[in-house]
Subunit: 139 residues, 2 copies
DNA sequence: GTAAACCCTGTAGTATACTTTAGGGTCAAG
DNA sequence: CTTGACCCTAAAGTATACTACAGGGTTTAC
C-alpha cells in the first residue's frame, strides 16, 4: 500500500493533483489508515498514467471521466470509445485549421516587413489597422 | 462624437468589452459628457478593429498592449513589431506541432479500433492504459 | 409623463486544471 | 524529544477575456 506521496512520485504528478483528481471523481476514493492518511493500491499508478496519456492526446478531465465510465461499463461498446476519439480528433483538426490560418497570415505579414525603418511605415501595423488581406481566422 | 453603444455596434463588440478594454488600457480613457457618458471620436472604431484583427492572428490582449505602445512610440522601429510577429509565429507553430502529434496518435488509434465488440477489448483504451506507441505530445 | 432604451459603477462569475495558502496533525531518525 | 518530512482539510488564487449582475441615473419617443 502506498501513501499519496509515493503515488505522486511514481505517477509523475503532485499530491495536490491527486487530491484534485479524487475530488473530481477521476480516481476512486481510497481507504484511509488509522491516522487518516490515504492508502493506495499500486494499481492506481497505472490509472493515473491513463489519465495523463489521455490528456496528452487532447482529452479534458471531463472527457476522461466519460472514458473511465465507459471503461467500467460492461454494457459499453468499443464504438462508444471510438466515437469520443473521433470527436476529439475533429476538435483538434479544427484547432489546427484555425492556427494554420493565423500562421499563414502572420507569415505573409512578416515577409512583407523590411524590418528597417520606423513603426510609422510598418506593413504589419498597417495590415492590422486597415482591413486588408484574409485576416479573419474565424473566431 | 459617439456613445459607447454606437462604438460597440460599429466595432462589433459589446459595450462591456469596450469598458473592459478601457480598464485594461487598450483604448485611451474617453472624455465624458456632462451626464457622465463616455464620448468617443469616430477613430476609436478603427482602433477597436486593430485589436480584433490582432486577436484574429493570435495576439493576446497583453501582446496587443505592447504592439500599441510600439505603434505610439516614434523611437520604435519596424523590426520591433516584426520581432513580436515572429515570436507569435513560433508560438503558433509550436501549438500546431503539439496538436498535429495528438492528431496523429488519435488517428492511429481510431484506425486500429474495429468499433465493434465490448470495451474490454478496445484498442484505444488499451493504448491509453499501457505505455505503447508514441503518445507523448510534449506537455 | 412614462416606458423603453441607453448610460454609469463596482463586483462577481465563467471555464480549465491545477497551485497556493493557512492552519494543523503524524511519523521516522538521531 | 525534537526536527524534518510527510499527511490532512477547506478555501482562495492563477491565467485569459470577457460576461453577468446589482443597483441606479438619463434620454428619447409617444
Amino acid at each position: 500500500m502506498l501513501n499519496i506521496g509515493d503515488v505522486a512520485r511514481q505517477g509523475g504528478v503532485s499530491v495536490e493533483t491527486l487530491r484534485y483528481y479524487e475530488q473530481q471523481g477521476l480516481i476512486e476514493t481510497p481507504d484511509r489508515d488509522a491516522n487518516g492518511y490515504r492508502k493506495y493500491a499500486p494499481e492506481v499508478v497505472r490509472h493515473i498514467q491513463f489519465i495523463k496519456r489521455a490528456q496528452d492526446v487532447g482529452f479534458t478531465l471531463r472527457d476522461i471521466g466519460d472514458l473511465l465510465s465507459l471503461k467500467a461499463d460492461p454494457g459499453a461498446s468499443c464504438s462508444d470509445v471510438r466515437d469520443r476519439a473521433l470527436g476529439k480528433l475533429s476538435e483538434i483538426e479544427e484547432k489546427i485549421d484555425v492556427l494554420s490560418r493565423m500562421r499563414d497570415v502572420l507569415g505573409t505579414w512578416t515577409n512583407a516587413c523590411p524590418s528597417t525603418g520606423p513603426v510609422s511605415a510598418c506593413p504589419i501595423l498597417d495590415a492590422l489597422e486597415a482591413r486588408k488581406g484574409p485576416a479573419n481566422a474565424d473566431r
